[in-house]
Structures are given as structure tokens and as C-alpha cells.
Subunit: 135 residues, 2 copies
DNA sequence: ATATTACAGACTCGTAAAGTCTTTTATTAT
DNA sequence: ATAATAAAAGACTTTACGAGTCTGTAATAT
């Protein structure tokens, strides 16, 4: 089963965000460094990073001494934000069979999904770092 | 994005279980009837049903007047049980990059997933029917 | 014996993730 | 200016798996 699984890209994105947050972002970090840590090709990772840039949570700088850095307000970026940026915002479950106006099964599936999202909305990269440093 | 989505099979399974529960199961229901309702081929649906049989939540009877019916104790079958039967029990997220013994990202993802499962464990087909009849 | 119905397995098809390669664009250093 | 650096864009390949078909076999009632 490959469905009902986060893509690898999401994993890369989460780790990249954590890495950027940890490297106290006075200077941007090049994709080579980020890619090396996660053992993934720079070109592939750059495509993922571009998505994060377009969502406004990462800033990019071309040219020498360029690279990626977190944008202002990054402390409030949640896991859900990052996941949405990569996986999209669509629901895990759609009842295609259209039988009646409201499918009760759909409804149950949706509320369960919202429980997970609620948790992911509360978890932030910043919170993760706080947890790392206090222990 | 096709990942991070329930398979269609899960949708079929859930609706089939509901249908079986509604047809007060004195006699088993043939796969043709079940398939017709959901506009899916009988042969394909039978493969899904076989999985449910193997998990012990559905009984099957070959031959004339055969078909499928719910097993005893079906009232306690949860959404999660059905989902597990089709999608498998593996986690939505695995941090493949092995950096240190415990990945904090993995931990967050897992607990969020458990929130969803907790809800799906409480929701039953029987509960759904109760909701339908009381309104 | 025959009709009916579930089970099993091999098979096709389409699509999307995962990743590569090449080119272009933007920025800095010299 | 120009060369070097680094991100962005896009076409392309590969691979895997969901989704579904087809064929045949096993079991059971009439």
C-alpha cells in the first residue's frame, strides 16, 4: 500500500525546515548542504524548496552566498502548514459514489481527519526546537 | 497527489459493511447486489470482501443462496478495523533518514496520527445506523 | 447433475511519485 | 563587464502500485 502515506517529499520538507530553523539564519543555506544531510539530490530537493518558497515560509536568494532561509514569523509555522504546502489541502477521503446529499461515512472520516489536523496545527518547528534545547 | 489518500477499496469496504448491517442479515447478500449499488464490478468487489472475510468481520457462503453476511459481534466493529483490513496497519509516516535513535519529527507525526485513529476506533457501523434511525 | 456463488491467481492499464538532466534566470564578487 | 555562483523551470525517465479485468477452480444448495 502506497496510498495513505505521506510522500517522501513531505519528510524532506519537514527536515529541511527544521534544519533551516536550527542554523540561526543570519546567512542563507545552500541547497547542497541541505541535500547532503538528507542524502537526496540537490536538484530534487530544490523542487521541494521552491514549493515552500511559493507558500511564503522560506525565502530564497540567488547568486553567490545565496541559498534558503526562513521568513519572518517562521516561529508560528505549523506542521500542518508544511504538509499542506507539499501534499496539498485536499481531504484524505472522498466518497465518490453520490448517494444522497450527505454521506454519513464521509462525515465520520472527515471529522477523524480533523482530529489529526488539529494536532498538526498546534505542533510547530519552533516548539520542536524548544523541546530539544530544554532536555 | 495520490498518496495520503484512502484507496477506493476502503470506500467500497465501508459502504459494503454498512449495507450488510442494514440488510438484517437473516440471509446472506450476494456480491452482485452489493456491487450494483456501488457501481463497481462484482469481481473487484469480491476481492475486497475476501479481505474482510479473512479479518473475520464478514462471513461468506458459497453456492446457491450464498453470499456475504456480518459475523457475530459485528456491532463492535469500528471504522478503524475496516480501514486496517484494507489499507493495512502501517503508519502514515516513516522517517527513513536514520539520524539518531529517535526522530522528533517522526514522533510528532505519529501522535497526530493516533488522534485520528482514536476517533476512528470509537466510530462504529452500528453507531452510524443508530444515528440514521433516530433522526 | 447442474446451477449458483465465492475464491484464487495471473494479467493489463493508467497514473503519480521520485528522481535526473538541461537550460535559464538572478545575484554577487572581482 | 564578466565570470562565478546559486536558484527556478521544465522536459524527461523510471518505477511502483492502485484499480480493474479475465479465467478458472472450489464449494453448496436444489
Amino acid at each position: 500500500m502506497k496510498t495513505l502515506k505521506y510522500s517522501k517529499a513531505t519528510n524532506y520538507a519537514l527536515h529541511t525546515m527544521l534544519h533551516l530553523a536550527l542554523s540561526n539564519s543570519t546567512k542563507p543555506v545552500g541547497v547542497q548542504i541541505l541535500a547532503e544531510q538528507q542524502k537526496v539530490s540537490p536538484t530534487y530537493l530544490s523542487k521541494i524548496l521552491t514549493k515552500l518558497v511559493k507558500e511564503g515560509m522560506v525565502a530564497s536568494a540567488s547568486g553567490a552566498n545565496g541559498g534558503y532561509s526562513l521568513t519572518k514569523g517562521w516561529e508560528s509555522i505549523s506542521f500542518l502548514d508544511i504538509i499542506y504546502a507539499i501534499e496539498g489541502k485536499s481531504s484524505l477521503f472522498d466518497c465518490d459514489l453520490n448517494h444522497g446529499p450527505e454521506c454519513l461515512i464521509q462525515k465520520v472520516m472527515l471529522t477523524s481527519e480533523e482530529k489529526m489536523e488539529e494536532e498538526l496545527r498546534q505542533q510547530t518547528i519552533a516548539g520542536l526546537i524548544a523541546e530539544m534545547t530544554t532536555t
